[in-house]
Amino acid sequence: MPNILIIFSLLTPFIGAFVLTQPWLPEKKQREKWIMGSVLLTSLITLALVIFPPANPLKLFKLTSHLTLAFHVDGLSRIFALLVALLWPLTTLYAFDYMQHEGGERRFFGFFLVAYGIVLGIAFAATMVTLYLFFELLTLATLPLVMHKMDDKARFAGFRYLLYSMIGAALGLMSVIFLSAYSDTDYFIIGGILNQSRVLGMENILQGIFAVSFFGFGVKAALFPGYAWLPIASVAPTPVTALLHAVAVVKAGVFACIRLVYYGFGTEFLIGSFAQDITMIATVITIVFGSVMALRSDHFKRRLAYSTISNLSYIMFGVTLMTEAGLQAASLHMLYHGVIKITLFFCVGAVYAKTGWEYISRLSGLGSKMPITFATFTLASLALMGIPPLPGFWSKFALGKAAVELGTKIGYFGLAAIMLSALLTALYQMSVVLQVYFPTEVQPGDLSQPRTTHRQQKSPRYLMRIARAAQSGLLESKRMNLVLLILSLMILLMGFTDGPIEKWFNTILTMP
Amino acid sequence: MKIFKGRFFQNLIMWVNGDTEHFLPPADTKMMESPKVPSVTQTLRPLPTKDEVFLGSFTGLSIFLVIGLVSILLLTTYNLPLFGDPDNPVVNEVIKRYVEKGVEETGAINVVAGMILDYRAFDTLGEASVLLLAGTSVMMLLLKDIKNTDPEDDQIAAYEMEIEERNRDLILQKITMILLPAIILYGIYVVINGHLSPGGGFSGGAILGAGLILYASAFGTNEVRKIFTMKTFKILTTSALMTYAICKTYVFLLGANGIDTRIPLGTPGAIFSSGLIFVLDVCVGIIVACTMYGFYSIFTTGEI
């Protein structure tokens, strides 16, 4: 594969978004075709790159002698790009139906496409400064998506998101600069790029910088002190919450942390240092904290957001193990959790789009009305809890194994936290499933008077659709169902083919 | 937001209209009633309360700052070279050349004139531009336009002018008639003797300007306007400055490139000597005189 293809995969979504913002496509159908076309084309190019990675990095230009803007497809990029390229078209398909009742589709899909290009940029970044550039751009591109509704709540969420992300990026910038100052090359190499002779005597400072930047990039991955934006940002439309806050944005944070640990500072330099301890403790805290908060919250999306926080820290825990097994387990969980969590969010979105309900306690008995949605939900919940042979089990297993192999105290603590969190996951996920299929004393919601936002109530078309759906007894739309089915198939498939996947990961991650 | 507009002369007019009416004939009451003078107390905005003003919040700081600065400066003065000591660091080769070769190189008997107009002429060019800038900025602020005048004010001004015209001070006028020629002559003397004796363009120009101001205050600006209008002002000032700048450009550029630019210097001590310095002195004199009078006229009437 010629490496110039990377540029095409990055530019296609931008071009798509540009055309979309122009008044050239007046018809809704045309627009949908155009969007889907751009997304599919990008995914195809990306998949081609993932399967046949180009050998040489693509160098664009040098900012300074230490800062180069360059792209490369290595093992980790391939995993992340695969995840993104698989899930983005599905989300697009899902969003067509979902966004009908939100409005502002042109703007939404414009930024949606741009965000795709930027996430791919993060995936293919070959140097720290490229990563940082796309990291910043990701914040800027997703901010309008978070603030989509432009009401007070959305604006507050957007401001919070901006604040946290900018602090994170600023802290991350430190490592960009320090890495460029203390290394000879700035291309990522597994094992780290620090020049050991120059580091001598500066170890503590550099490890401190590492810890600070880890927390900085970790803000996007909702690591402990910087998690607060994620639950609030769930005011965004569900495709955004699902894709950006369960997959793209948060996984980009994790991805950046992996780059920082394994490809930037290097495990050899960090392992056993105080920086490892601090970061690992933070991940352990986040694992437990996220699960507990998820159990506490009644808001459906927020519960999943807290669950995301907890699960992301599984990955981060794997990252902070700083062993090869840790990296492998982390990337495995990155892939599996991405698929599982997006499925869960889509189920929530389906419920919200059709009924307008946000709280779990109101969902009693909805299972029969939305059979496919909740079947998928149950499957995904089981996978998230870690029931073998579903994928969640394998990744947690790998994580646990890696932790035991490391053999430090905090490692065992982490293992315990994962166990505890698995239990809590069972509690908070199964309570929903039970609520849905076996209604409690609380009356099931009155379908003829859905709880909706002000704007939706005004739309007669929406009310009519609700009424018709209530008559027929089914509340699901075809395209959404299709997406959910594809995703559940993927979950099952991944569960059964875990062996080959792990082997593939092993080969590509150890490849230079 | 210009509800409270008014003029600087309101106080004057109130005094004019007041009880102690000593120079208007009592029969002429019509003129007194025509303009409506707003009372100053009405136009004042309500004073801000104490809380809003940070009155005196910086007083202590300022006093502390000033006392500190002054004591440091006094200490420094103690450490500085002694007053009037011939061995001071300032007495060095720079002065030696100015004094010993000045006449030969610049043709000016007055070493200071030679220094500011030839050796360090770039500074002086800047200085002349400052004058132009000051004139321009004052005109920018005070020349009459729709923003800083209103019809009522114009009425008041016309009224005031009327009073002034009628009550020209005879003593002042007579004295002016005697003094003015002498002042103007003296000013011209100082200007064109700048390279020979103390004085020069700046001082001479100031004297000329003062003469013009005296004339204007004795006979009214309208009288001056017969010979000296806005147009004259602009043309005189800019062309003098222009001459100055072009002469200096010529000298700077050619001099720097090592081409001999020497205008014939003439006999040192004669009036028409010292080359460009004489011309420059005259230019500076014109600029200063015009600017001085310009300030006076704009400040009093808002136009030249």
Partner: protein
């Protein structure tokens, strides 16, 4: 005979002065405008040639004004850094004028526009003179010219608010130039010279003999404080937001973008060419600069965050950026000074871009200035919208734009001085986050559609849309991508200074 390009500095200063003098005689303001544009473009063009000639050969030359050499006559001293600054000054003046002329004609009364153009030319002349001069007293004279001209172009708008802010600006400026003058006088007393190389010689001799140690400290302090007041360093910069925020767009752009930088250029020249940078460091002047710069960064950012009036917000942000520059100068490493100059150059392009775009946006929205009321304005003139966005992103520090590179070099410089690294690093981070918090919401606001954004199309502004905004935007991107070239020029220039 000198090489021809040696004449460029003198020619550019004199051209500006002479055109400033001619303008009152011109019949119409259009002619004045054209003359002004021509002169500033001419200066930029000549300076570019000078830059092209000077940089490859590492030339640093002294140009006598007139036929009298060093200690007797006035001199200009020119090197790569000076040429670069002159180029920036000329170019940005040209662009600010071209871009803001429509607002200018709205803000200033017909009879007084020619005065404004005179001021503008004089301001450019004074900036060039401050950059090039090799003579301390000349720099004082031109500081005064720039003070008067700067105040005048603020007050040209002639609203009660601008007059009030100008009087404050003038009072503080006079304080600054008074202190500067005392410094010059004292320096003359102990050395007997006014030209920089000779001053340096004398000062080094005095330092070696240990004489007048205390006056030298005081002089360094006075010169620094005098200039710091004028360049709006933190505790002295309170005059800036009102004056810069209230002026007409062109004035704001030039004042924020250039005038402050002219003083800093002069300060650096004084430090290098009179005191030598080692002496300044041993006198702890750099420490003061460093601390004031840090506080200024935070203070300016906080004030900008609290401000709603869009131009005053930009002015507050200028104060923060001045803090960056002084922090860089105060880092005690040579790279820090170079980084500060890169920041100067970047800010000289970014801030006018922001001011002009904001001015254009408010112009198409009935001259509204509150950032809330500008909602959706970018849809009416997307060039202005993109200009504002680019400028904001550069301020936030997105890679590929100028602001990032300046920040990068500042941190890299800070890394060379372990004692000053951490405060600098954290303050930079805080300031960057604050920048994002007040610029990004503004960007989102102007791009969010509102009722006004679909109203009638607006009249075109050719100067802004086709000249100022594109060139400034390209400059910002160019500095972000190829900033190393500029950095190289700066470092060469500093080495020769």
């Amino acid at each position: 005979m000198l090489p021809l390009h040696y004449n460029i500095p003198a020619i550019s200063i004199l051209a500006c002065l002479i055109s400033g003098i001619v303008i009152p005689l011109l019949p119409s303001e259009r002619a004045a405008l054209r003359l002004n544009l021509t002169v500033s473009g001419f200066v930029a063009f000549l300076s570019a040639i000078l830059l092209y000639k000077v940089v490859p050969n590492n030339e640093y030359f002294v140009y006598t004004m007139g036929s009298f050499p060093a200690p007797w006559g006035n001199e200009l001293a020119v090197g790569p850094l000076e040429a670069l600054m002159a180029f920036v000054f000329g170019l940005v003046t040209f662009l600010s004028l071209a871009g803001g002329v429509q607002t200018l004609f709205h803000d200033i009364l017909p009879g007084k526009r020619n005065f404004f153009f005179t001021m503008l030319n004089m301001l450019l002349a004074s900036l060039l003179a401050m950059t090039y001069t090799n003579d301390l007293f000349t720099s004082y004279v031109f500081i005064e010219i720039s003070t008067l001209a700067a105040c005048a172009i603020v007050v040209a708008r002639d609203t009660p608010k601008t007059i009030g802010s100008t009087i404050r600006y003038l009072a503080l400026s006079l304080l600054g130039s008074g202190l500067f003058l005392i410094g010059v006088v004292l320096l003359y007393c102990i050395t007997g010279h006014l030209l920089m190389p000779h001053l340096q010689m004398q000062i080094l001799r005095l330092i070696a003999t240990g004489k007048y140690a205390m006056p030298i400290t005081l002089i360094a302090g006075l010169l620094f404080v005098g200039i710091a007041i004028k360049s709006a360093l933190f505790p002295f910069g309170t005059w800036l937001p009102m004056a810069h925020g209230g002026a007409t767009t062109t004035s704001s752009a030039i004042l924020s973008g250039l005038v402050l930088k002219g003083y800093i250029m002069l300060l650096v020249k004084i430090f290098y060419r009179i005191f030598t940078i080692d002496l300044i460091r041993s006198l702890h002047v750099t420490d003061v600069m460093y601390v004031c710069g840090l506080i200024g960064m935070i203070y300016g950012s906080i004030e900008a965050y609290r401000e709603e009036h869009i131009k005053r917000m930009l002015a507050h942000s200028s104060m923060a950026q001045i803090g960056y520059i002084f922090m860089g100068l105060g880092l005690d490493v040579n790279l820090g000074i170079a980084a500060a100059f890169l920041q100067i150059v970047v800010h000289a392009f970014v801030k006018p871009l922001l001011f002009l775009s904001a001015g254009r946006l408010s112009e198409i929205y009935n001259h509204e200035k509150s950032s809330y009321r500008l909602r959706g304005s970018a849809h009416k003139d997307w060039v202005a919208g993109i200009g504002f966005t680019l400028g904001s992103l550069s301020m936030v520090g997105i890679p590929l734009l100028g602001g990032f590179l300046a920040k990068y070099y500042l941190i890299e410089a800070a890394m060379q001085n372990p004692y000053k690294l951490w405060p600098a690093l954290f303050t930079l981070m805080i300031s960057a986050v604050m920048n994002a918090l007040y610029y990004i919401p503004g960007v989102i606001a102007i791009w969010t559609r509102s009722e006004l954004s679909t109203a009638n199309p607006v009249e075109h502004n050719i100067g802004f849309t086709w000249i100022a905004a594109p060139v400034l935007s390209i400059a910002v991107v160019f500095l972000g991508v190829n900033g190393t070239y500029v950095m190289e020029i700066i470092q060469r220039g500093l080495a020769l200074l």
